[in-house]
């Protein structure tokens, strides 16, 4: 067999390749941000001139969402599910085959999108055939994970397992409906196309990016702090409320727009209710930290986790407020929303994945993280860069929305001119974020090639740093 059967190899390989896709995806994001400052940057340069903002943006979003974050999530599933089930991954060979499949698919995503093969639906831009293959990719991963669940030794399902099972059952439904049942003809048209697009666009966050991320924190926090989960009851409320409340919220992306008023109202009501599962989960996380806050100082994975929890709080307070008609009337269509989206997928879920990689990789390859100093740099540069990025987009969005409200959009160009300083600050923030990830990837590379042998006890309670 050409695919490795070594325990942990599929998870490790997914982590390795996901961080590469992150660097590529973020580079396209930075490139897009720079194009907003220098619109004629690529003009008259052969071939490059085709890579205008509209071609670059989908490459960025698709590669960071499916290449980086989903790839890291697959690795997390392969790492955590066997451990909470007290068994091995059902098939490392299938897992490693999926790694290759996913890398080829992501390459195809990038190439086709750069060539302008765009389906015209946000976050569902890839062509029909690639969507079918995306479903195959998810199916290969989920089948492997479900078989692992079926073979579990640990009969009691831990909270992490609920979230991961929940995602496995619901995310494919969201993807298939949101991508028009994978039919090449796209049977749903008109405003209903937008309704379905946002059902997908928002719920792929709610039923894929959220549950795996939250599930990973439920796994990491007790490991990193040595504390048990604070409240079992809150865990249950948080999980079931998430599954119940998230689904109908998609139309809040179309508030004040040309979709039925009742549909907007339903979306707004459920969006506001999202506060319940989010605050329940966060209360539980903060409770679990009780008496162990001091550990944050010593452990970079814990730093990333706790920071992600703060960002999760902000993003999930913003979300319900943004859905309100009055708030939406100012911030909708502005840079504020771009900041909000990055707060969720970068500030929250990507940070959780950084923590997961720092925790899981030493255990997968039996090596200590190469440099504790680089780990710290990765954290601080990511945090400062992201804060600059987020604050400039948020304030910029408020300025933009106010510009439109003040003159009823009659002097539209004023809103473009006024965004310039914010666009520049945002690109600087983005460059810092990307720089942090370059350090991160270098550290991972050195860990894999030159890391010292991992000593189990030094890494417990997040004392990876102390061990160096």
């Amino acid at each position: 067999m050409m695919f490795s059967n070594v325990e942990g190899s599929a998870s490790r390989n997914f982590f390795y390749t996901a961080v590469i896709w992150m660097a590529i995806g973020m580079s396209f994001g930075l490139f897009a941000a720079v194009l907003l400052i220098f619109p004629d940057l690529v003009k008259n340069i052969p071939v490059l001139e085709y890579f205008t903002f509209g071609r670059v943006r989908p490459v960025h979003t698709n590669l960071v969402l499916f290449g980086w974050l989903s790839g890291a999530y697959f690795a997390t599933l392969f790492y955590m599910v066997p451990r909470v089930c007290g068994t091995k991954l059902w098939s490392e060979r299938l897992g490693n085959f999926t790694v290759v499949f996913y890398n080829l698919l992501m390459t195809a995503y990038g190439v086709t999108l750069l060539l302008g093969m765009n389906a015209g639906r946000e976050y569902a831009e890839s062509t029909w055939v690639l969507k079918l293959l995306t479903v195959v990719m998810f199916a290969l991963v989920f089948f492997n994970v479900l078989m692992t669940f079926a073979n579990r030794k640990e009969k009691e399902l831990y909270v992490t397992a609920w979230y991961m099972l929940g995602a496995i059952v619901t995310a494919p439904v969201i993807y298939v409906i949101g991508n028009q049942f994978l039919l090449p003809t796209n049977p749903i048209t008109g405003v209903n196309d937008a309704v379905v697009n946002w059902f997908y666009g928002h719920n792929i966050l709610g039923y894929w990016f959220t549950p795996i991320g939250v599930g990973a924190v439920y796994y990491l926090l007790p490991k990193l702090t040595g504390n048990p989960i604070w409240s079992h009851k809150l865990s249950m409320i948080g999980f079931w409320m998430l599954m119940f409340v998230y689904g109908p919220t998609g139309a809040h992306h179309l508030v004040n727009g040309p979709v039925p008023y009742w549909l907007q109202t339903v979306a707004i009501a459920f969006s506001v209710c999202l506060i319940i599962p989010v605050w329940t989960v966060l209360t539980n996380f903060y409770g679990t930290m009780n008496g162990r806050w001091g550990a944050v100082k010593e452990s970079v994975p814990l730093k990333f986790t706790v920071t992600a929890m703060v960002f999760y709080f902000i993003t999930c307070f913003q979300g319900p407020m943004q859905s309100l008609r009055s708030v939406s009337s100012i911030i909708h269509f502005t840079n504020w929303v771009v900041g909000h989206a990055h707060l969720a997928v970068l500030g929250t879920f990507s940070f959780i994945m950084f923590a997961t990689i720092y925790y899981a990789l030493p255990r997968l390859i039996n090596r200590e993280i190469w440099s504790a100093k680089l780990m710290d740099w990765h954290y601080w540069l990511s945090l400062i860069g992201f804060t600059l990025f987020f604050v400039s987009l948020t304030i910029g969005g408020l300025v933009q929305g106010s510009d439109w409200a003040a003159n009823q959009s009659a002097n539209f160009i004023a809103s473009v001119i006024n965004q310039r300083p914010f666009n520049i600050a945002r690109a600087f923030g983005g460059a810092m974020i990307l720089g942090a990830q370059v350090l991160f990837i270098y550290n991972i590379f050195k860990t894999a090639t030159a890391g010292r042998v991992f000593s189990g006890e030094s890494a417990e309670a997040g004392s990876i740093v102390a061990g160096v």
């Binding site: 907003l36 400052i37 619109p39 003009k43 001139e49 205008t52 903002f53 509209g54 071609r55 943006r57 302008g116 093969m117 765009n118 015209g120 639906r121 009691e156 609920w162 099972l165 929940g166 496995i168 059952v169 619901t170 439904v173 409906i177 796209n186 749903i188 048209t189 008109g190 405003v191 196309d193 309704v195 697009n197 059902f199 079931w240 599954m243 998230y246 689904g247 109908p248 992306h253 179309l254 004040n256 727009g257 040309p258 979709v259 039925p260 979306a267 459920f270 009337s329 909708h332 269509f333 502005t334 771009v338 439109w404 009659a410 002097n411 539209f412 160009i413 004023a414 473009v416 965004q419």
Partner: protein, 320 residues
């Protein structure tokens, strides 16, 4: 109960699935069953002979739409006018028909999208909304010039240049942008075209609402003239009217008539009201012919701005 879900993975999965299924029924299936979302609307291009069976019958328009999708124009331009005063400038002009009905001048509704596939509502407004751009900017020449070099028509634009696209693709894109309009508003009702040679037109053709207006400024007011000069620079007027403000002709490399007007001439021969009218409404015909002069009333210049420009041109008329 909790205990059961925590031991039985299938039960847990089923529970999660059923909760999501409820959301799908309520927010995906029910809207799909709402017939009125597909109801015929005279505002939608589909029902005015432009489109048939949901497909535009002009292949060039259809091609333009495909290019619009391919180049990702829809990431920065919405095509929805919300039910908010903030979006007022993006509405189609309100017009009262002979039978007393008023058309245009409203936010977009579900039926305005017919069975667009995909529907291009957009989610971000880095650039202006385009749902009714065909009313605001009905000149194909203007659109093509704008696509080739956005900074030539709007110096502060951050739109990419599409100079690298073949000429027929630019033509298709412009064709598509021109059909983005409210098709319930009759084309002829909106025509306010002063004729191909503006300098020969007289106050006789001045629309009623522009007759009798009074210029609040005097040509002796240096502050107004300075303000006008700033506006001219910001709006990029001289890209067409020439750096010396004496217009452009074939000799200056301008392709074909109508030629951009010589302001020194216009200031001598025309009334304040006429100049104010041309600046306000542009010289474009609603069918897309005419010249590329935009209707500045709809493009960010206030009444005071346009009067200041009028005053400046009248002042030029007194200079050599």
């Amino acid at each position: 109960m909790g205990n059961k879900f925590e031991r039985n993975a299938a039960l847990l999965g089923l529970g999660a699935f059923l909760l999501l299924a409820g959301a799908i029924v309520a927010t995906v299936a029910v809207p799909l069953m709402q017939e009125d979302l597909y109801a015929a609307s005279p505002s939608s291009p589909r029902y005015s002979g432009m489109y048939a069976d949901g497909k535009p019958i002009s292949s060039q328009v259809a091609r333009g739409r495909e290019i619009y999708i391919r180049e990702g124009c829809w990431y920065c331009h919405t095509q929805q006018v919300r039910t908010l005063p903030n979006d007022a400038a993006f509405q189609a002009p309100a017009v009262t028909l002979d039978d007393g009905r008023t058309v245009g001048g409203r936010p977009t509704r579900p039926e305005d999208y017919g069975n667009d596939n995909p529907a291009l509502l957009g989610s971000q407004r880095t650039g202006p909304d385009l749902k009714y751009v065909g009313h605001r900017l009905p000149s194909k020449e203007w659109h093509i010039a704008h696509l080739i070099d956005p900074r030539s028509t709007e110096p502060n634009s951050i739109m990419p240049s599409y100079a690298h696209l073949p000429a027929d693709e630019l033509d298709a894109l412009a064709e598509y942008l021109l059909v983005l309009r409210d098709w319930a508003v009759p084309v002829e009702t909106l025509a306010k075209y002063p004729g191909p040679n503006i300098l020969e037109a007289t106050d006789d053709i001045l629309p009623e609402e522009y007759q009798g207006l009074v210029n609040p400024y005097s040509i002796d007011d240096a502050a107004v003239l300075a303000r006008a000069e700033q506006l001219i620079e910001d709006a990029g007027c001289l890209q067409c009217h020439g750096p010396d403000m004496r217009g452009m002709t074939a000799e200056d490399g301008w392709g074909s008539p109508p030629y951009p007007t010589n302001w020194y001439e216009a200031g001598k021969t025309h009334s304040d009201q006429f100049i104010f009218w041309v600046i306000s409404e542009g010289t474009l015909k609603e069918d897309g012919s005419g010249s590329g002069m935009p209707a500045w009333r709809l493009n960010g210049l206030s009444d005071e701005d346009r009067w200041a420009l009028t005053t400046y041109i009248k002042w030029l008329g007194t200079q050599e």
